[in-house]
């Protein structure tokens, strides 16, 4: 087999100011789950700049519609919403074909999860998860109902603001990201230890979806706009000889 020379793009390093620190004492669960050693910095190899590829035909036609993908006898109860936006990289390029997976509580703030014991009831017509692939412009949309806030065991009277969890696979292992989307105007955001673990105001604002009246469907659904930025690739290249294992032996 021939020896190839391949130029491979690295990603911009993550800026720690863009993210919450591992140890955020007001968020009590982080105390025993944050590493105490410094992370070991890696220069990127093929292991970091490649990632799994997903195909549209792997998804069902209702996977992105949480108002219908678990409906048994009717529609879920709650405020009908469209959540949509663009996923880009740090260079502003569309992040196409990115697997997005979301999950959330129902309108009462209750999760369909065997560990959730909150007294608000389960909605028989609401599962609470959805998934989609971004299109060639990095665009995505989901239909859902607005999740309710809920209490959690942190400090004695902590309540999470309404939020939707977002998971993005990106195009490479190094871009993998999980975050949460909040709603414009929610007064619980300011006091939430998880939201406030982000120490940069601008970065926290970036997680707050804005009411989008132009996309709102009259007599049907309100719309919120939530754009996401994944890590971008550097313009500089390094050269990497790629061989087959047989050549090495």
């Amino acid at each position: 087999m021939s020896i190839r020379v391949q130029a491979v793009d690295e990603f911009y390093p993550r800026d720690p100011r863009d993210h919450p620190p591992a140890l955020a004492p007001d968020y009590k669960s982080s105390l025993l789950r944050a590493p105490r050693h410094a992370l070991v910095a890696l220069q990127h190899s093929l292991s970091e700049i490649t990632g799994p590829v997903f195909h549209g035909e792997e998804l069902g036609s209702l996977d992105h519609d949480l108002t219908r993908n678990y409906a048994r006898q009717g529609s879920p109860i709650g405020e009908r919403l469209i959540v949509h936006g663009f996923v880009r990289d740090q260079n502003g390029r569309p992040a196409a074909n990115t697997l997005m997976e979301i999950w959330q509580a129902n309108a009462g703030g209750r999760y369909r999860h065997r560990q959730d014991q909150y007294l608000a009831p389960i909605d028989p017509n609401f599962g609470g998860c959805g998934r989609a692939l971004t299109d060639e412009n990095g665009y995505y949309f989901f239909r859902t109902v607005k999740p309710g806030p809920y209490p959690w065991r942190n400090r004695a009277n902590d309540w999470r603001p309404a939020h939707i969890h977002f998971s993005l696979s990106g195009a490479a292992y190094a871009q993998r990201l999980i975050t949460q989307m909040y709603f414009e105007g929610d007064p619980l955001i300011a006091g939430c230890p998880i939201a406030r673990s982000i120490q940069d105001e601008e970065q926290l604002r970036g997680l707050i979806a804005q009411l989008d009246r132009r996309t709102t469907v009259p007599f049907d659904s309100l719309a919120y706009r939530f754009d996401i930025v994944l890590r971008g690739r550097r313009a500089t290249l390094f050269e990497n000889r790629v061989q087959t294992p047989q050549e090495a032996s």
Partner: protein, 206 residues
């Protein structure tokens, strides 16, 4: 608060901030473990496929917190090369190279069925030892943690691995080695992940 006059180049967007996956991550990423079915085709439950070349192996272990208690709500994903050291793509068609698993709600243990990867070329023409990239999230983890699984029975390859050579101290290096364990017909590697404490696993900044 920010000591730098021009902290972010104006032409570059800032990466969206991470937030914890929380305790109910299973709903979105592994609904069956949350206790319900919603998708006809769950993605990521298994890496094995018919006709896949290579030695099938089982990765299993515990995730533990700083008090030594099992983390029973963690989610792990792996990303690896095929048996010939090729990542998924045109050269490794039909191979996804990716899977996810959750720790169980009782013991905090996980299990992933996969194949042993081949060696992949690293930077500057140096071969990396066979390894599996691991990404871990859970309640209490604000930004997903990256680590690598190497194999204790690949001592020769591990000795020249460019990433393992970055790690100070034999004890820390040992935290990245999965150990073969006899378990009947299966080829099992044991890999515990310690989030904090004396045996804290090495985590990487990518």
């Amino acid at each position: 608060m920010n000591p730098f006059p021009f902290p972010h180049p104006p032409h570059m967007l800032r990466e969206t901030a991470s937030q914890t996956a929380g305790p109910y991550v299973h709903i979105g990423l592994a609904p069956q473990q949350a206790g319900f079915d919603v998708y006809r085709n769950p993605i990521g439950a298994s890496l094995l496929a018919d006709g896949l070349e290579g030695q099938p192996i089982v990765l299993s272990g515990l995730v533990l917190d700083g008090a030594g208690a099992p983390v029973r709500d963690a989610l792990l994903e792996i990303w690896q090369a095929d048996a010939h050291g090729r990542y998924a793509g045109p050269e490794a068609a039909g191979f996804r190279g990716w899977a996810r698993a959750c720790t169980d709600f009782d013991k905090g243990s996980y299990r992933i069925d996969t194949i042993k990867p081949g060696r992949v070329m690293g930077r500057d023409g140096r071969w990396m030892a066979p390894h599996i990239n691991v990404w871990l999230v859970a309640r209490g983890i604000n930004l997903g943690l990256h680590t690598r699984i190497y194999f204790a029975d690949e001592a020769e390859a591990n000795a020249v691995d460019p990433v393992l050579s970055l790690i100070d101290g034999e004890g820390r290096l040992q935290t990245l080695l999965a150990r073969p364990e006899g378990a009947g017909d299966e080829w099992v590697y044991r890999f515990d992940i310690h989030l904090q404490g004396e045996r804290e696993t090495v985590f990487f900044e990518l």
